[in-house]
């Protein structure tokens, strides 16, 4: 099938540090109702559903059991992708492109507040034979990588602080963000050390919430939606899972994923052909690292460009106009769906106070968090 695939509906819930008043089912339901309303469809119109979850984040084994009811997906083709949101979005795109399906729905949520000891869960992701017995807190890996990245590229802790200040301030204009704040770079630099040189405010805090996205093939999308947003390219890549074998300077997973997405979208010069980006910033240095290894800035240049305001919401290449994970809250694998949601709003021209003028093409990039080296890239555009 040569038709493009478009996003025709997005649904969200407010992102919050805790959500003791609603269950994950209720959050998904709320986001799903909004998405179906936005797309002008009923759940019975949907041909296939994809959900993202990781058992250990949910506290339930085989979590995919609990997906169908609140999505209106009972007795339908439904499956789970235990990867980040963009890889799951690629799954929806591929399913539609087989020609078997017209409409696909993607769901992602986070109930991070249920996890009492997140670092214990992260430790379970380390190699059980060679690494886990060392008994360290996995966030140590982020400190190690940050140090190596800063030393090799010449970016500084000050630049990382600037990322945090920028993203949290940008989030003030985002009504769904969980952590908007006016903070200074000094606040970040003087916050509690976690794993040198990583500090408390360098780390995105977790949030609860849900996103549901409706995709359709082009001909159906044009019939249903006055403002379809097209998926021009998807890419995802796995670097080695062995932490001891990785190059800690470069995020090769995103370079590979981006090359795959750029090729499909026909993008040769990302900084000229793309108007803004929603890029993973789970740790402050990750935004800079990802910007450089997505090919948006040359290695070592992102910090200075950031200082010049290049990546500000009113800059030449806005990065994280939503406020990113640092401003909105980290939702594990669903974080990238917030990026997709923001990009869709911007490309439709519906982003209100934080609207970037005249945008046509957006890039969303994700990373699965420590201790992984895998991520995805999606290129969206509103061009007919």
């Amino acid at each position: 099938m040569n038709e493009r695939v478009a996003i025709i509906g997005v649904g969200y819930t407010q992102l919050r540090p805790v959500s003791s008043d609603v269950s994950f089912r209720e959050m998904i339901y709320e986001a799903a109702v909004r998405a179906y309303e936005d797309a002008g469809i009923e759940p019975r119109d949907v041909d296939t559903f994809v959900a993202i979850s990781e058992d250990y984040h949910e506290g339930t084994a085989i979590f995919d059991e609990y997906v169908p009811d609140q999505l209106g997906a009972v007795l339908k083709p439904v499956h789970t992708i235990t990867q980040d949101g963009l890889t799951a979005l690629a799954s929806c795109v591929m399913q539609i492109k087989t020609g078997l399906f017209n409409i696909a729905v993607l769901e992602g949520h986070s109930k991070a507040s249920n996890i009492l000891y997140p670092s214990h869960i992260d430790a379970f992701a380390l190699d059980p034979v060679t690494v886990r017995p060392l008994g360290f807190n996995p966030v140590f890996l982020a400190g190690l990588e940050m140090q190596r990245f800063l030393v090799e590229t010449g970016n500084t802790e000050y630049h990382c602080g600037l990322v945090v200040a920028k993203n949290r301030a940008t989030a003030i204009k985002n009504p769904i963000a969980a952590y908007p704040a006016e903070i200074s770079i000094e606040d970040v630099l003087s916050s509690n050390p976690v794993s040198f040189p990583l500090k408390e405010l360098d780390i995105a805090r977790k949030a609860d919430g849900a996103f549901v996205i409706v995709l359709a093939k082009e001909s159906v999308a044009k019939r249903l939606s006055p403002y379809p947003v097209y998926v021009e390219g998807v890419g995802w890549l796995q670097d080695t899972p062995n932490i001891e074998m990785r190059d800690l300077v470069s995020s090769l997973y995103l370079t590979g994923a981006a090359n795959m997405a750029y090729r499909e979208a026909g993008i040769r010069n990302p900084i000229r052909e793309i108007d803004f980006a929603e890029i993973d910033d789970t740790f402050s240095y990750k935004e800079l690292q990802h910007i450089e290894f997505l090919g948006i800035a040359r290695p070592g240049e992102s910090g200075e460009m950031l200082e010049e305001g290049y990546f500000d919401i009113d800059g030449e290449f806005p990065v994280n106009p939503s406020g990113g994970n640092i401003g909105c809250g980290y939702m594990y694998d669903s974080s990238s769906l917030r990026g997709v949601y923001e990009a869709v709003l911007q490309l439709r021209g519906f982003a209100a106070e934080r609207q970037i003028p005249d945008v046509e093409t957006a890039l969303i990039a994700s990373w699965r968090g420590i201790p992984t080296a895998s991520g995805g890239v999606v290129i969206l555009s509103n061009r007919e």
């Binding site: 059991e65 007795l75 499956h79 895998s374």
Partner: protein, 392 residues
């Protein structure tokens, strides 16, 4: 209806199924992937994308188990996707790989299924408690045997099936399993119905010999686009149909005697394969058989027998491997006869259909001519059906 790009199966690999493998999960995945690539005559460099399936992370005791297994499965530095539908994952992996290629995104895809249940101590049934609803069911201390015994009892009551007839499934599969090179030590055998019925009661009416075992193992399949397949083989085996369906999580609100989700998944696959009369057009079938009654239950869901008829056909030998007029069911030995490393067991079923259609199943080859076969898996809370149809 639109027919997607054709997808071929080029090779399959299976490790031996074991109660307690000495290999790490990565090594199991590697072994199966290497065997599948060898049968296809390819190397990992020919593979554009990798799909991995493994059932709950709690078995291996590794969070984000897909990430951990990536290099063993050949997914390092490649687009690598893990999909998941509980026990149905083994067959779903093939469906996931199928859409990688049918969408036109990739030429080749390696699908790897791995399961290491023995890491779960003292017994993986403890892990199964964590699949239930945390408020209403988990506090009861239930496991999987319990839910199966309910469903089996319901099936037997509705269709008035005697326990001895259900035991025939275990007898057939455990005998078929004797011929499978990967079969787990000590589980296949030539048992009598009395031995099966009188074996230790696990949770009435399920007895020890009517339930599949805990296993470690891995399997892999190489898939390719039509253009690629025609360059490397003269006789490709095609994926003719795929189907999957998930029912409500509220399993207590359903009548358990009939798996409607399997029927819906099967209808989706039959439609895609252009099959009007599955009883004539399917020549061999590998239904999921973690428990003896499940095979009959699924054969009815797959529309290969009327509701309540599968046990009667079983008594007549309709599902035997050497049948001339029937449809051989679980010629591999199935989960009862080979072992049940959850995701790898599902993939084993697809691999068996691949070898049956290719005509290289050796001693397990069905007597009747096989042009098309169906593999099915099941999982979650009696909830998901996954179906793949392979043909020449």
């Amino acid at each position: 209806m639109h027919f997607p790009q054709k997808v071929a199966v080029l090779g399959a690999g299976l490790t031996k199924f074991m109660r307690r493998a000495q290999e790490t999960p990565k090594e199991l995945a590697f072994e199966a992937a290497k065997m599948a690539l060898d049968e296809a005559g390819l190397t990992i460099d020919d593979i554009d994308a990798v799909v991995l399936v493994t059932a709950p992370d709690a078995f291996d005791g590794v969070h984000m188990n897909g990430e951990y297994l990536a290099d063993g499965a050949g997914g390092s530095k490649k687009p690598y996707m893990r999909s998941f539908v509980g026990g149905g994952s083994g067959v779903f992996g093939i469906i996931n790989g199928w859409y990688h290629i049918a969408s036109g995104h990739f030429r080749t895809c390696l699908v790897v299924a791995e399961e290491k249940m023995s890491s779960s101590m003292p017994h993986p049934q403890g892990t199964f408690n964590a699949i239930y609803d945390q408020f209403t069911e988990r506090p009861l201390g239930v496991n999987l045997l319990w839910i199966f015994s309910l469903e089996m009892n319901r099936y037997m009551s509705v269709h008035k099936v005697p326990l001895e007839t259900i035991a025939l499934v275990a007898k057939k599969n455990k005998k078929n399993g004797l011929d499978h090179p990967c079969t787990q030590a000590g589980i296949a055998g030539d048992y009598t119905v009395e031995e099966i019925v009188n074996s230790e009661i696990m949770c009435w009416p399920v007895t020890r010999l009517m339930v599949s075992t805990v296993s470690d193992g891995a399997g892999a399949l190489v898939l390719a686009s039509e253009d690629f397949a025609k360059k490397v083989t003269d006789k490709p085996i095609w994926i003719e149909g795929v189907g999957w369906c998930l029912d409500t999580s509220y399993w207590t609100n359903r009548d358990l005697y009939y798996p409607k989700y399997v029927e819906y998944a099967a209808r989706m696959a039959y439609d895609m394969a252009g099959i009007k009369d599955p009883r004539k057009e399917i020549h061999v079938v590998e239904p999921y058989d973690p428990f003896a009654y499940k095979e009959l239950h699924h054969l009815e869901g797959l529309l290969l027998a009327d509701k309540g008829e599968a046990p009667k056909l079983l008594e007549k030998g309709f599902w035997d491997r050497d049948t001339e007029t029937g449809i051989p069911s679980s010629p591999s030995g199935g989960l009862l006869g080979v072992g049940n490393p959850i995701a790898a067991a599902g993939l084993m079923k697809v691999a068996e259909i691949f070898w049956q259609v290719k005509g290289t199943a050796g001693k397990r080859q069905a007597k009747r001519e096989v042009k098309r076969g169906l593999a099915q898996a099941w999982g979650d809370l009696m909830q998901v059906g996954t179906v793949v149809i392979l043909g020449k």
